[in-house]
């Protein structure tokens, strides 16, 4: 038998600590350098595309929307420059998603989390919000001082905060506003919105995106990357030893010491580290980490610490890139006196690039050969076959003809299958001998009821495959579909 445990005998366990660490506000310092310039450039590009793309026009002819990028929900169309997609073609989006996912994998294999540091919307908008904050409240030290001040209710401080939050809200509001423009004719919608004639849904979406942008970029910032985003967890499974990550080259840096002491040691011919422990890399980091602790999940690979460190190294007359895009293999190689090796072409990167090329190629091919006339056939199930008074058998089909052209087309329907079969379309516009003709409106789907009648004796099989050919009389284009002709 087990010995009865008396709860009073148990030792209290009190060293768990809190389950969640309290948030420590990050005050990234401004920095200049190569990577900062790249980030400014990409930010300008991304925001420019996002905010202004809906206003780009694209002539598609009379009656068709002239917006270059338009998600037209009411009419079930998607327009992207010269591409027009129908609901039947959503597989293009599957392809796009595959390319996007593999693109992320490829970026990860080459440069770690560079997506996070340069292109992720969370990074782009947070960076923009930081820029506004810095402009109004000053750089790191001033902001820390102001936040720590015991007298925060000074008029100057309040006006600063009001100005900051107003600009933040303005950016957030414009972000939501630009979003809805992708779903309707942009200039018209802008006019409607400012005159309060816009659809309620548009206002709701603007409100939602204003709120999320303001909250995520203004307040949650790096916490989104560290706590909410699944990508850092996924990338851990995707990265390998050759991927270039923002890396502290401890082979050069350690042991850390003052500039003076390092100079003395070097003068004596003794080894000395380049890192002077100035903590500039920590001060500029938007997620508030110390890159010298090694590769870590909180790092978004933005490279700002590289810029900060380079500035210091230049100042103290030591070679730059004590922190740089590198990997552990090279650190070890340098320690062993071997030259570093960079391998961008590896099985992994080649495979990713190949998948992107194949999927992209397939999509381009499909787009290039996209049929502007399509036919879907559905056999009527109730009843599946009808016996007529003379003993012949008739099957009914629902035929859907898609005319993706910008003009009306006259089509003829022929079938191939049951012997001596006659075709009849209910409500056909005209019938040349045994060949129903129908006008299909431009950019439209027409649903037709089609009857195929065949003598019983010439079609003894229970089920015969039947092909439907839809021919554009004007262009001679043919679209086909297959179904079955069934006898009772």
């Amino acid at each position: 038998m087990n010995k009865t445990v008396n709860p009073d005998d148990l030792q209290p366990v009190d060293d768990y600590g809190p389950l969640y660490a309290a948030h420590k506000k990050v005050y990234p310092q401004s920095v200049s350098g190569t990577f900062r310039r790249i980030k400014w450039g990409l930010m300008g590009f991304c925001l420019g595309v996002y905010y202004f793309l809906p206003f780009v026009r694209w002539n598609r002819g009379l009656g068709a929307p002239d917006q270059a990028v338009l998600i037209d929900f009411p009419n079930h169309r998607f327009y992207f420059f010269f591409i027009e997609l129908w609901p039947q073609e959503v597989y293009y989006f599957t392809g796009l998603l595959i390319i996007a996912a593999i693109g992320l994998f490829l970026m990860n294999a080459i440069g770690g989390r560079i997506w996070c540091g340069y292109l992720c919307p969370q990074t782009v908008w947070t960076d923009l919000f930081y820029a506004v904050e810095r402009l109004i409240e000053g750089d790191r030290r001033e902001r820390m001082k102001k936040d720590a001040s015991s007298d925060p209710m000074k008029l100057e401080r309040i006006s600063e905060l009001v100005l900051k939050h107003s600009i933040w809200l303005l950016i957030a509001w414009w972000t939501g506003g630009a979003w809805v423009l992708y779903f309707s004719d942009a200039p018209t919608l802008v006019k409607e919105l400012v005159t309060f004639q816009g659809p309620m849904l548009a206002y709701i979406w603007i409100a939602i995106l204003t709120a999320t942008t303001y909250t995520l970029a203004g307040f949650m910032r790096e916490q989104v990357c560290v706590y909410m985003c699944p990508w850092p967890r996924i990338q851990a499974a995707l990265t390998d030893e050759w991927a270039l990550n923002v890396t502290y080259r401890y082979d050069r840096g350690e042991s850390r010491m003052s500039v003076k002491k390092a100079a003395e040691l070097r003068a004596l011919g003794q080894p000395a580290g380049d890192c002077v422990d100035c903590k500039q890399c920590v001060a500029v980091c938007p997620t508030g980490i110390d890159i010298r602790d090694g590769s870590q999940m909180d790092c978004i690979q933005c490279g700002l610490c590289i810029d900060a460190c380079d500035t210091v190294m230049t100042k103290i007359g030591r070679p730059t890139r004590l922190i740089g895009y590198d990997n552990d293999i090279n650190i070890h190689r340098r320690q062993e006196g071997k030259p570093p090796v960079y391998k961008l072409v590896r099985a992994r990167t080649v495979a990713y690039a190949a998948i992107i090329a194949v999927v992209g190629g397939a999509m381009v091919y499909k787009l290039a050969t996209r049929s502007l006339l399509d036919v879907n056939v559905l056999h009527d199930r109730n009843p599946i076959a009808i016996k007529l008074s003379d003993g012949s058998i008739r099957n009914a089909y629902t035929v859907r003809v898609l005319n993706k052209h910008g003009f009306d087309r006259v089509i003829a329907i022929d079938i191939e299958g049951p012997a001596n079969a006659a075709v009849h379309v209910v409500g056909a516009d005209s019938v040349t001998p045994d060949r129903p003709m129908i006008v299909i409106g431009r950019d439209q789907t027409e649903e037709l009821r089609l009857l195929v009648t065949a003598p019983e004796e010439s079609n003894p099989e229970k089920s015969i495959p039947v092909k439907f050919h839809v021919t554009d009389i004007g262009l001679g284009v043919v679209a086909s579909a297959t179904d079955n002709f069934v006898s009772p």
Partner: protein
């Protein structure tokens, strides 16, 4: 309130002072945000009682501050829907049956309307796909007791068959056996004669001449000299391959003995004229229309 400050040694949390079988309850209050949310829902609920119809009274209910009613909402929605459909339905009401069938837009509307109404009113007998059953005509085929033109279908829909409506279609298959007009042997003979007319095998030893004679004396009045039927009296064509009640000898004998007089209800008054029009076009477009 009990005065106690006992603290649990393991968790360091104060207890409530309650103990059951030696187990003490820790005092771990709900998070404040949760409690506040809870109170807000209570306040909200009280407000809701006042603002919206909520409380039943003996004969009715409280109306709320705004006089809101979901029933009225539905009525408004339905009225709006009618307004949207109004123009199209008006066009349907004035157009002739043939015109509706020629215009693709009106045909589509009539078919859509007809299909729903058919499901509600006709499917019970004719089946959801209008394929019919024994005794209930298949509306997809080309065999029509009372004629398969648009107008004939419309008339059958309006007034029915043997429906009791003053304008109903009337016709009768007599009970030749039950009424003693024909003897059982004669019925067997004429049944085989009819099967022969339809190209079906006959019983060995049956006398075609006797069959023809019985048929000429009793059946031609309705089914015609050549047994092709007569849509004016709803007499079926006996020479085709479609049989409403079945074509085997036993069924035929039963039909001749007891007669067959199926009923189609009249829909005039139950469905509005436009709907009946749409129904006629729908049934005609199933494929069997003539």
């Amino acid at each position: 309130m009990a005065d106690h400050t006992e603290v649990d040694s393991v968790s360091g949390t104060a207890t409530t002072g309650h103990a059951w079988d030696g187990i003490k309850e820790l005092n771990t209050p709900l998070p404040r945000w949760w409690v506040i949310t809870f109170y807000i829902t209570i306040v909200w609920a009280i407000g809701y009682w006042i603002v919206y119809p909520a409380w039943p009274t003996i004969s009715s209910n409280t109306k709320g501050l705004f006089g809101y009613s979901s029933r009225a909402d539905v009525a408004v929605e339905l009225a709006n829907l009618e307004k949207i459909r109004g123009a199209k339905m008006a066009a349907l009401a004035t157009a002739s049956l043939a015109d509706i069938e020629k215009d693709p837009a009106m045909l589509a509307l009539a078919r859509a309307k007809g299909k729903t109404v058919f499901g509600d009113n006709c499917a019970a007998c004719h089946g959801t796909g209008a394929a019919g059953a024994k005794g209930f005509p298949n509306l997809n085929d080309d065999d029509w007791l009372w004629g398969g033109s648009l107008e004939q279908i419309q008339q059958t829909l309006l007034y029915g068959v043997r429906s009791g409506h003053p304008k109903t279609r009337e016709g009768q298959m007599l009970a030749f056996g039950k009424d003693g007009v024909l003897k059982p042997a004669e019925i067997v003979t004429v049944a085989n004669y009819v099967r022969e007319l339809a190209g079906l095998p006959t019983r060995p030893g049956y006398d075609p001449k006797a069959g023809a004679k019985i048929f000429a004396e009793n059946c031609v009045a309705c089914h015609g000299d050549n047994a092709k039927g007569n849509p004016d009296v709803g007499a079926p064509n006996l020479t085709d391959k479609i049989w409403l009640y079945g074509s085997d000898e036993a069924t035929l004998i039963e039909t001749i003995t007891n007669g067959r007089n199926g009923v189609m209800p009249a829909w005039e008054g139950r469905l509005d004229p436009t709907t009946i029009k749409a129904m006629a076009v729908y049934v005609h477009s199933l494929g069997g229309g003539k």
